[in-house]
Symmetry: C2
Amino acid sequence: MVDDPMRRQRPSDATTVAIALLSTRGYEATTVEELADAAQISRSTFFRRFGSKEDVVFADHDYLLERLSAYLDAASGDPLEALRHGARIVLDHHLSRREASLTRHELLQRNPTLRDRELVSSHRYERAFASYLREVVPGASERGWAITALAAGIVSVHNDMLRAWLKRAEIPATEILDTQLRSLCGLFSPVLFPDPNERAASSRVVVAVFDRDIGPGRVLARIQSAIDGAVAF
Amino acid sequence: MVDDPMRRQRPSDATTVAIALLSTRGYEATTVEELADAAQISRSTFFRRFGSKEDVVFADHDYLLERLSAYLDAASGDPLEALRHGARIVLDHHLSRREASLTRHELLQRNPTLRDRELVSSHRYERAFASYLREVVPGASERGWAITALAAGIVSVHNDMLRAWLKRAEIPATEILDTQLRSLCGLFSPVLFPDPNERAASSRVVVAVFDRDIGPGRVLARIQSAIDGAVAF
DNA sequence: GCGCTGTGTGACACGGAGTGTCAACTCCGA
DNA sequence: TCGGAGTTGACACTCCGTGTCACACAGCGC
């Protein structure tokens, strides 16, 4: 009953109608029977389709999580770019249905229980990102904390961005998200995917010794080549 | 009713008895009336004291979160050390009551709903750490993602450590936790608390020019002092 | 046409969580 | 001894979520 495949499909109109009703009349004040009536189905059918009163609010997340997992499972190429694109998939879904996202957001604002449930959903995204990272990061077991931290950071940046966009629709959410995720991934990149060259260069001190009468241009040139790692003294 | 101050006190015997009962007989199978009988109170009083059947399982978290927040509010000195000590407060609480922690852990293992609730509690710890960081980090608003990621990392490392200790009691959990948290904080330290000297040194190239006949010892000494930032050429 | 099976639906009953009310009891100060 | 404040228990009530049964309707073989 819990993992009925029926409930993983693209969220239908019934869910948005239900969310709107819950938002306007209040979550506690609205009974399941009223939701069922609004969707023109019986109370029994409501429970069979959506599982519970709470689940109907989070049908989007189940659907999105499915999509995200599927994408990450199939992803190849630059792992950090895959992470960014995964986050964009989720964000774009919300961007494409502003009205529904807004009413849903208002509903969550007013109800602490639902906010907690939202946290659980957020954590599921984190786990999706983290389990992907655990697959692609070499020696993931010793870097568990970095993986967890990065996954948490991605979801956090995404959620902050979504909230900002819900407040002001005109901001270029997709672009900003991508920029911020680039910064975030950049911090973790040397830890998760250490580049041997770069690591060596950052831990080295260049000492250049020249004849006294060498010209400044040639000094700079040789220093430059030493920094690039092409010449080692 | 939700934030009854009574429920924030040190978890009593009644909660551990309740958890044991829920663990042995199964969460769903045990009614609140049975829990109330075991605690020798009426069903009404049970709800008044513990709020709900779920809350009785998480009384520890409420209590600990209160302690952690109080500690962080009053903390002064090295912020990263305060974070480590805060995590140790939480861990030590569990270490000091192994039996209760074990039965509680088994109960959570068997029940997905309770595991979700545990995630919510974990997130509350994250928020406590994050809000502390937001206070002490200069220019916290531009480093929001780093703060979130570090907070998530701390809780994650703590939870991993606790799980490991529940499996094998003989490991020195406190010490290992402290070591791992040192590594974790070390990664974020340059981002959250950039040291001007260190940053300058890492982005600088030292070029040392010497007379040909200078001794190797003096060369090394002068290079050393240059790296330390005392001498700039 | 017939019967068979599987699937989706509605109607109904039931257990149990959580809330509200009210009366009884205890403690404490006047 | 009286009265008030706080705590407890008993009871009733609403509503969620589950389980069961019956019905409708499709597809399919004969």
